[in-house]
Every structure is written in structure tokens, then in C-alpha cells.
Amino acid sequence: MADTPMVVIRNLSKVYRQGDLDVVALNRISLQIDSGEFLALMGPSGSGKSTLLHIIAGVDRPTGGECRVQGIEVTRLNESALADWRNQNVGFVFQSFNLIPVLTAYENVELPLLLTGLNRRRRRQQVNRALELVGLADRSRHLPRQLSGGQEQRVAIARALVTDPALIVADEPTGNLDSRSAHEALGILQSLSRQSGKTVILVTHDPKAAAFGTRTIHLEKGELT
């Protein structure tokens, strides 16, 4: 499995227009990420690392170049197809967790599964398995505000892996966590890559976080260094 590349990027560019100015976020980047890899993407603020992550995950579109994920040119998918593709293939972990405040931990984790057509029983199995994996099976009925930051992020990780996606992307997932919770969260991501063969892409500017990865690449001013 490790010999088929998960992500193949060629000459990828992203240029924003700000008034009369063109701001280059990504400048003709080429990159390959293998299946099962835990890639840490580092760089200072504004270096383009989040933009790159968003394009790989099918949330943003490049202005030039190619981005294939599992052989699919995601940049060519239309809006609805892209939404379905994200649902089935990508798990997202955000810096501020982005849990839905009115839904319980269980319901938050179930959200991506509601789009899959699985029946209630199968959904329950998968949600419980995901919550067990992050060690929060006993918190499933809690609302996000009743959880600590670390627990919230673990719920978010459970939500990211509940659909069993091949790719998990995490944008500064430890940015809002204390060091112990950060360590826990990164440990879970690491074991997902090691034991379940998930490809994990982690955006961070913390070298300690990046150390959990199998490879670290640096971005600066939209270019790989």
C-alpha cells in the first residue's frame, strides 16, 4: 500500500487577488505524499501551508498546476462532487475543534456519517468505535461546552476518522491545547498513521508537534525549502 502515492502535486500555484495586488500563496510546488505517511507541514504564518492543506483536502482550489489524491484530480471536481469526495475520503481536524455546540459528542461524530446512507445501527457501531479509539466512549452524551479542550479535540479527531477516510488533515490541531492534551492528540494521529495506515498531513509551526511525523517539509513564501 505504501508504494502507491496518496498525493501527487505538480507545479501547484495559488494566487490571491487583493485589490490591484497579486499575492502568491503557493508558487509552483511539486510534492508527493505516500500512503500511510505522517507528514508535518511547517512554516511561518503566511507561508502557504494552510492553503496547501486546503487544496489537498478539496476545500480550496489552486490557480494552476495539478493535485491528485488517490489518483483523482480533485481540482477538476465540481462543487457537489467535491463535497461528496471530501465526505468519503478526507477527515478534518481544526485548530479550534469546530464542533457543533448544540450537538453532543456522539452527534458531532455522527455528522459525516449522516451523509453516507448507513443505517442507524451501523452508524452507532462506527461512532462508538471512533469514540473508543480516542478514549471518550464515556463522554458521548456530553455537549462540547461540557468537555475540556483536549477532550473536544479528541471528539473532533473521532469525527475525522469515523468515515474511515484514507486521508486525515489537521490544521494546527494543538494550537489551542495545553502540552499534555497536545501530546495525547498527536499520539492518536500518530497511531492512526502507524497502525491503521492512514495518511496524515499535519500543519504546525511547533517543532515538537512536527516530531511526531515521519517526514517534515518546510514552506516559506509559498515555496518548499
Binding site: 476545500v59 463535497a83 471530501r86 481544526f94 479550534s96 457543533i100 455546540p101 448544540v102 452527534e107
Partner: protein
């Protein structure tokens, strides 16, 4: 695929202050709408409730109401014995020549005055109108200066209790009983002996004549004959049709109701819109997250419409509950047919409540359309980055 209903319900309640204000606004609109419409329904019902399909009412040609009609004694004699008219046990035709007189009386507990309709009924008058029943006291004695008043009218007009007397055309009339007309137009009338009424009020003519037909075929024949008889400038029509057409009084109420509801609903739409815009603003990142997870624009659009609809529907239910206690409450207005006090009830029919709820739903959906469109059109990245 839509989001689970619990998600919407909880979101409606999570910002409960804004929600409450909007719910109250919509409730008020729906309550006013339902109440005004129920007035119109009550008024029309009291007209439609009146009359017997076997009876034919005869008025002067060209007059739209009994009170503005005249039938001379000569004319009455000409058609009274036609064979189509049913007879009583003594073989007398079942016909009641009535006299209608308007009287001004003070209202109960107020200086204001109201016009009251007095009906002097002929001998067969009561038999022809079985829906009118005595509920207290006794019937008037023919030839005596006695009246029986509607119990509901008595609740609104001074000195209409049994045992009271009042002056009319310089004569003392005694109230000897109360009648009830089962929610018909007779609930707004005062009844007395027809001949006595003509004497007191000095009337040469009758206002109208009510006759009972032998059967359906006789009725048709009678109406044809009356129409054809050149000596009789009269018009005959079924009693039920006559009262069914007396719904003019409800028209301005309906128009007022429609106008009020429209004006107020515009306000309610904006209130709902304001609440939903606030909700979209507060949940921008949540919307971005849902989009990232794979929810489509259409789902986001629908979910905000659902929330707006839910919100307003809540107001609609509350509005109906607010209006409900007035169901059956008796009130009055001036009839635009007779210009006299007309007593009727608020009628909150189930269809009216359903209409109120549908109306609230419409307000909610209309109010949340623009906010929902904004939510659906949010760019994912920008939404995710909002705080």
C-alpha cells in the same frame, strides 16, 4: 440529505432571547389574524345559520333587506291564499307578516346608544322559525305591550332584563321573556306581537312576509307565480338564501383583517429575518465546518429555512393559543344591512387555526430566505476562518 431535526430545534432554542422576541412577534400577528378572521366567520355564520329551507321570504322588489322593504295589506291578501303555501291544523296559511322597527336604546353600563331591531311577528311567526326558543320568562301575549328580547342582546343593552320596562314611541313596553336563536340573526332581535307593533309604531305596511311552502315543487311554483304577477311588485326568495346573502357586514372586517395581517406580517417577516441573519452570523464557522464535512450548499439553505419556519411556527402555535380563549365569546357590531346592533360570536374554526399556522410558516420561510441564501453562499475557507 438534511441535518437532523434535533439540530434545528436546539439551534432555535439556543439563542432564546432573539428567538423569544421573534416568536412573540409572530404570535401577535397570528393572534390578530385569527381573531379578526374569526369575527368575520362568526358574523357570516350567524347569517348562514338563519332560516329554514322550507320558508320563502317576500320583500318589496328592489329592497335588499327586510328593514327597507314594504308589503301592503292589499298585496298580502293577494298571495296569502295561494295553494302553494302550507296550512296549519285550522287550515290557515302558514304566513307571518312582520313589522321591523329600529329603536335607539342605551347600552348596558355606558352612555352610548345602540340601534336595536324590533320584530313584530305575525301569528305564525314563531312556528315558522323553530330555531328561536324561549329560554326565560314567557312569550308575549298578542295585543299586549310586551316584548321578548334576545338573551345575548340583553347582555349588551340596558333595561332588557325580564320585568324591566322601556319606552318606545311614547308607550311603555314590558320585557317578559328572553329568547335564543342558536347563533342566528334572531339573536340580535326583540320580538313582539305584529299587530301591536303596527299600532304602537303607527305602520300601515308590513316589512316582509314569511311563508312556509308545502313542498319543494310548490316553492318553485310559488316563486314563479310571484315573479309573473304584475299586480305584485314583490320579490320572493328562500329564507336561507336571504340570510346567506346578508354577509355584507363581514366584508369590512375581512378587509380590515387582511390589511392588519399584511401590515403586521411584514414586520414579523423582518423580525424573523433579523433573527435568522444573527443566527447565520453567529454560526458562520459552523456552516463552514458542515460544508467541509461534505454538506452541500442546498442542505445549508434548507436547514436555515427549516429553522426559520420552526421559529415562526412556534409563534403561530402561541398565537393560536392566545386567540383560543375568545372562541365562543359573544360580541356585537352594527350590521351594515339593518344598521342595528348585531350580536355574534368569535368562531375559531379548526381550518382558521390551520390557516393561522400556515400563515406563520409562510412568515418564517419568507423571513429566513435571504439569511439562508447568505449562509448557503458563504465561501468555505472564509467561513472556517471566522471567529
Amino acid at each position: 440529505m438534511t441535518l437532523p431535526l434535533t439540530y434545528h430545534v436546539r439551534n432555535v432554542f439556543v439563542r432564546w432571547r432573539a428567538t423569544l422576541a421573534t416568536v412573540a412577534g409572530v404570535a401577535l400577528v397570528v393572534a390578530v389574524y385569527v381573531l379578526v378572521q374569526s369575527l368575520a366567520v362568526g358574523l357570516e355564520k350567524s347569517s348562514r345559520n338563519t332560516g329554514d329551507p322550507r320558508n320563502v321570504m317576500i320583500v318589496r322588489k328592489g329592497s335588499t333587506a327586510e328593514s327597507s322593504s314594504q308589503v301592503t295589506r292589499e298585496q298580502l291578501r293577494l298571495f296569502k291564499y295561494w295553494p302553494q303555501i302550507a296550512r296549519d291544523e285550522q287550515d290557515r296559511p302558514l304566513a307571518s307578516a312582520d313589522v321591523l322597527v329600529m329603536l335607539t336604546r342605551p347600552r348596558r353600563g355606558s352612555e352610548a346608544e345602540a340601534h336595536v331591531l324590533i320584530r313584530g311577528v305575525g301569528a305564525a311567526g314563531r312556528a315558522l322559525r323553530p330555531q328561536v326558543a324561549l329560554v326565560a320568562g314567557r312569550w308575549f301575549v298578542p295585543g299586549q305591550r310586551e316584548v321578548v328580547v334576545s338573551r345575548r342582546l340583553a347582555a349588551r343593552i340596558a333595561a332588557f332584563d325580564i320585568g324591566n320596562t322601556f319606552k318606545a314611541a311614547g308607550r311603555e313596553l314590558a320585557v317578559v321573556g328572553w329568547l335564543e336563536g342558536q347563533g342566528s340573526a334572531f339573536d340580535s332581535e326583540v320580538w313582539m306581537d305584529g299587530d301591536e307593533a303596527r299600532r304602537i309604531f303607527d305602520r300601515e305596511f308590513y316589512s316582509s312576509v314569511l311563508v312556509r311552502m308545502r313542498d319543494e315543487r310548490s316553492a318553485a311554483a310559488f316563486l314563479r307565480r310571484l315573479e309573473a304577477d304584475k299586480r305584485l311588485p314583490l320579490r320572493g326568495l328562500r329564507e336561507t338564501d336571504y340570510y346567506g346573502a346578508q354577509t355584507m357586514t363581514a366584508v369590512p372586517i375581512r378587509i380590515l383583517g387582511g390589511f392588519l395581517a399584511t401590515a403586521m406580517s411584514i414586520g414579523a417577516v423582518f423580525a424573523a429575518m433579523n433573527t435568522m441573519y444573527a443566527s447565520v452570523g453567529a454560526r458562520t464557522r459552523e456552516i463552514g465546518t458542515l460544508r467541509v464535512l461534505g454538506y452541500r450548499r442546498r442542505t445549508i439553505l434548507v436547514s436555515f429555512l427549516v429553522e426559520g419556519g420552526l421559529l415562526a411556527l412556534l409563534g403561530g402555535v402561541l398565537g393560536c393559543l392566545l386567540a383560543l380563549p375568545l372562541h365562543g365569546y359573544s360580541t356585537g357590531t352594527i350590521s351594515l344591512e339593518t344598521f342595528t346592533e348585531t350580536v355574534f360570536e368569535f368562531r375559531l374554526a379548526p381550518w382558521l387555526l390551520a390557516k393561522g399556522l400556515a400563515f406563520s410558516l409562510l412568515v418564517g420561510v419568507a423571513g429566513s430566505l435571504l439569511p439562508a441564501l447568505r449562509a448557503a453562499r458563504l465561501p468555505v475557507i472564509a467561513a472556517l476562518q471566522s471567529v
